[in-house]
Subunit: 649 residues, 2 copies
């Protein structure tokens, strides 16, 4: 069957990252964070939110007795961790970790019911309520994460045990859900299974998995609405959350308010939306569904051009962890869940395989260098769930509208979706660098690395080396056994106002080759051909669309993909009293791996304010130096205020 793919992602098996910026992070994740999270999942880290996720599996498997503990989706924490291990083992030998993973898989396998069902909450607590509350109860979400884990681990090790568990579970789903008489016409309350089934289809080529993914997507939002019927029938108008009577389900909350073909505006829970859009793009590509792709593009445009923070954060309302509405982007009460930006990366990665346009890679870069990196502490053991653009620790403590906005990363969460999500993303970073088709290789992300890949039957090695974040320079070397003609498409990041590109030392007029944000270099490449790139990596003062009312009169400092922010530790208390003098130059300073920016500004002073709350305008302020640090580094030097958007002076 033909597909809509124009270039497919190159699996990170072919990519070896060796990057001065990324190496310490990836080493930390593999060597520190994966073992740490394993300890957490086993409830062996004292003084933090209790996980119980492994214990739930033990109880379901009959290895232990006791009650289920945690959220109805607690299993997914284990699955995401296992998926991260799979990604890690795809690139690294680690027998100890593999042994632990094999034991977990063994445990999962024994916990699975004979019919393939697997969800420890229902197995332990409410076996009679299976599939009766799709709206609230995450069974399909949990299944989806296990499938993703299974595929990653299978691809890492070739061991089929976990894949068999996943297929058995998926076969059960195929038996239970679908259009056919006697099957449930439902779909997940929390989307995720759709993209997972596509992964399982890709590795097994079993059409029924793709068909079920497509069913879940196309059935969604049809009238009469399944969730309303479910609420009236199998749910008895009761809610899982507290087990008391409840009102009609909010269909917008999980994007079931209308058929997905008709959805034009991102609404509801942001993570649900992102996972669903990703699955939609997958299914559109594989089933050649142009109309579905169109829906994806419309939603992409709405999200990225009307509802996204400059950091790549999405979900501007804490209520329902949800999208708000066009241009409504408050900086201090938003949600911007880490998982939502990871979902946005997934969505972008799917679209960039279908539509050759650099905007997808631009957004992946934005999310990666700001939200994803910012969500994890320098030591890898503390995490942000919510990623604010403005924090005042006093407000977080005293203002009930901001209790969700933590001024410091947390060691774990009762709802622990984000920490293992970050880890699975970082352990698969190499998957986001290249895509290719039979005659083109797209370079999307500038990360020093080797790609070893066969194109047109030629084994090529593409080595990226450089200091992209530092000075915008990358040097690319091609190694080929014999000359070969193909296209190398290099992304020009949106932030780069200009670039100098030289092939074998000779500058080319790159704009002549620029197509949809990529410089497409088609030629017969020879061994040791080099391309040197220098992007103009200046400090850029950014402004928001005038409809973003929270940002009018304010600016944000960026350099390359990095959003910068002000912290109290550098700039003193009451960051809101600061303004940036935009007429004066800002200066960048490199400081090890990380840089900072110094600007000139003004600080409101307390002169003459004794015992007053309002007064005739006097504007008592003094000039001051402002220090901006990359957003992703904030909160690593003690608790204090942080602010991205600053008033311009």
């Amino acid at each position: 069957m033909s597909t809509l793919y124009t270039s497919k992602y190159i699996n990170h098996k072919h990519v070896n990252i060796d990057d001065a910026f990324w190496n310490p992070i990836l080493k930390l994740v593999g060597e520190e964070v994966l073992p740490y999270q394993w300890e957490v999942l086993n409830a062996r880290v004292p003084g933090i939110e209790k996980s119980h996720a492994i214990q739930n599996l033990r109880i379901a498997a009959g290895d232990a007795t006791g009650d289920f503990y945690g959220f109805v989706f607690q299993d997914s924490d284990v699955a995401k961790w296992l998926e991260a291990v799979g990604f890690y083992l795809q690139k690294h030998k680690n027998e100890a970790l593999e042994k632990i993973a094999d034991e977990v898989i063994e445990l999962i396998s024994r916990a699975q019911m004979p019919d393939g069902y697997l969800d420890t909450y229902f197995q332990i607590k409410e076996p009679h309520k299976r599939w009766t509350n799709l709206y609230e109860c995450h069974e399909l979400y949990v299944a989806g994460h296990l499938i993703e884990a299974g595929v990653a681990y299978y691809e890492a090790t070739g061991k089929s045990k976990i894949l068999e568990v996943c297929c058995k579970m998926a076969d059960h789903l195929v038996k239970m859900f679908g259009e056919e008489e006697g099957k449930i016409k439902g779909y997940p309350g929390h989307q995720e299974i759709e993209l997972a089934l596509v992964k399982l289809y890709n590795v097994t080529q079993r059409e029924e998995y793709l068909n079920l993914a497509r069913f879940f997507i196309t059935e969604r939002g049809k009238e009469p609405n399944y969730f309303v019927i479910e609420w009236e029938t199998t749910r008895n108008k009761m809610t899982h959350w507290g087990n008391h009577p409840c009102g009609k389900p909010d269909l917008k909350y999980n994007q079931a308010h209308q058929p997905i073909y008709d959805q034009q505006v991102a609404v509801g829970h942001a993570v649900r939306a992102m996972y669903m859009y990703t699955g939609m793009a997958d299914v559109a590509a594989l089933t050649n569904d142009d109309k579905l792709l169109q829906a994806c593009q419309t939603l992409w445009d709405n999200v990225t051009k009307k509802q996204m923070y400059i950091t790549g954060g999405v979900g501007s309302n804490v209520h329902g962890e949800s999208f708000s509405f066009d241009y409504d982007l408050p900086n201090d009460t938003m949600y911007c869940e880490t998982c939502a930006s990871i979902g946005l990366i997934f969505f972008a990665q799917r679209l960039q395989q279908i539509i050759p346009n650099s905007e997808y890679a631009d957004i992946i870069e934005k999310c990666l260098y700001n939200i994803v990196l910012g969500s994890i502490s320098a030591d890898g053991k503390r995490y942000f769930y919510v990623n604010p653009l403005e924090v005042d620790p006093i407000s977080s403590k005293l203002d009930s509208r901001k209790h969700h906005v933590k001024p410091e990363r947390q060691p774990w969460f009762s709802c622990a979706c984000c920490p293992p999500n970050v880890v699975r993303l970082l352990t698969s970073l190499g998957n986001y660098i290249y895509t290719s088709n039979d005659k083109e290789i797209y370079l999307h992300q500038y990360i020093s690395s080797d790609l070893i890949y066969k194109i047109k039957d030629t084994d090529v090695k593409i080595t990226q080396q450089g200091s992209y974040l530092e000075d915008g320079k990358m040097h690319i070397t091609l190694s080929l056994p014999t000359p070969a003609e193909f296209t190398l498409a290099l992304r020009i990041p949106k932030w780069a106002k200009q670039a100098i590109i030289k092939i074998n030392g000779e500058e080319i007029k790159y704009s002549n080759y620029l197509v949809d944000g990529y410089v497409k270099l088609t030629r017969v490449w020879n061994d040791q051909d080099t391309i040197s790139i220098k992007f103009a990596l200046g400090i850029i003062i950014m402004e928001s669309h005038p409809f973003v009312k929270y940002n009018t009169g304010k600016v944000c400092v960026m350099r390359g993909p990095l959003v910068y922010c002000l912290e109290e530790v550098d700039n003193g208390k009451n960051l809101a009293g600061l303004s940036l003098d935009i007429t004066k130059p800002l200066h960048y300073h490199q400081d090890g791996r990380i840089g900072y920016i110094i600007g000139n500004g003004y600080r409101l002073t307390l002169t003459g304010w004794d015992g007053m709350l309002y007064r005739p305008l006097m504007q008592t302020e003094e000039s001051c130096e402002l220090r901006f640090v990359p957003y992703h580094t904030w909160g690593n030097r003690g608790v204090g205020e942080m602010m991205v958007w600053i008033r311009k002076h």
Copy 2:
């Protein structure tokens, strides 16, 4: 017994208001609003929130059958309306209204239980639960409002029937509550009874009422905490709201977290706080309690110097309709309940009788001309409960954080505390103009009127006439049968940077006579002496304390006591995109009773923004004219955006 009063308020029986600005409002309230609200209370106005308040009384009295409907404090709507009628009848003959009121009183009297108890919710629905849930159930609040109504109506008509009902009820309270063995050691969940008992004491001179008010105040917040004990015992850890198990009571919510002598910061529900502070000041004055007065002053300073909006609004958090914390004054998510500012007026009025300082009258003026007047529509039949400083109708509709912020006044509310509260305040406006002691008359509010009053055995008439709001001019004429020596203390409003004061045409150097914000003119006054005052009534651009983060870089336009705002109807959409050029003059234009102000500013334009959310700073803006209208007039010309604080350019 000696008291702390330095000057007592002069009852509006002595005051006849005849003011070009106020006359139409007061006429509207008496002739349109009181009858309208009577219809509402009888559920005879279709298409609005159902009241059922009168019907509840009928059911309790045995005149009708049926269920109680409404909130547990539904009775208080009738009481506040009746109190307003009382105030109105103190100044106007209106036989029709008096007849209705007499019938209501008759009904109330028959609804009262033989033991004096009166609360239709408990009488109809849960007679066995009387006094078991003071924390949530408002019985003492309802009692308080009935007492206030009774006192006002008795003072208006001399008819004792309602006063007898009140005394019978108060006697019941005296029997039930107090330190003595066997009595309940509790106090109200919603304060109000304290100030009401003081009013009843003032009219009856029965010490037990004052003592009970004092008990309610001084017992509050003592350890072990009554509300915690109640929750554990008579409440069985259940909540009235939904009748399900609940957690420990939030003691800060109703200011029971510590003894009131120790309270230094306003916390919790703003209306509760204001009514309590008012009662505290009453009791402090009457019982000569300096320490209690000190607590009042500390709380006053906290409220007005750290937690009050420039409009006089208080309560910056919708959650719990509560105070937030010092300097936390968001403009678009606040609460600023109308009742809270009315409570602040009460508190100020009590303090100004104890402490001769103009700050109390300044705040009364601020609340009156902005929040109180703004809360009622031009036709008197629609009301704001929440009084925002910034509104966008789209946000009110789509942003769950702002659903409580209505962009238009509402005809009624399920919780209808505000509409009758405004009416009782306006019908008693004359009570706020003067205070006096045996040798001084303080003029606090400049409202054209006659005062006919006896001081030092001389009948004086003080006539204020002028156009205070228009041009800052007032002309005062004294009429006396014989010359008399006394002090006339004239408030210099805080907003008036200067004033010209002439006695009998001769200018005085008023600063020589200025004490605590009042020009104290002590002399032998003669018949037809005149004082002419001209306050410098300029447009003043105001700024907020730098810690008010929502207002940094912004200004507010005021003229006299009036805060001005921008409306969409005058200035187009996206008010947040406007800025005021503070280097250019602003101009005032009188337009009938109301003025407006024209300024120069800039508007962010949409030039070059197609399909973008962020871009390098270009600052595309165009100059424009800005039109400011008094805050209290907003929302009378259709639904649209409104904004008080504007960015300065």
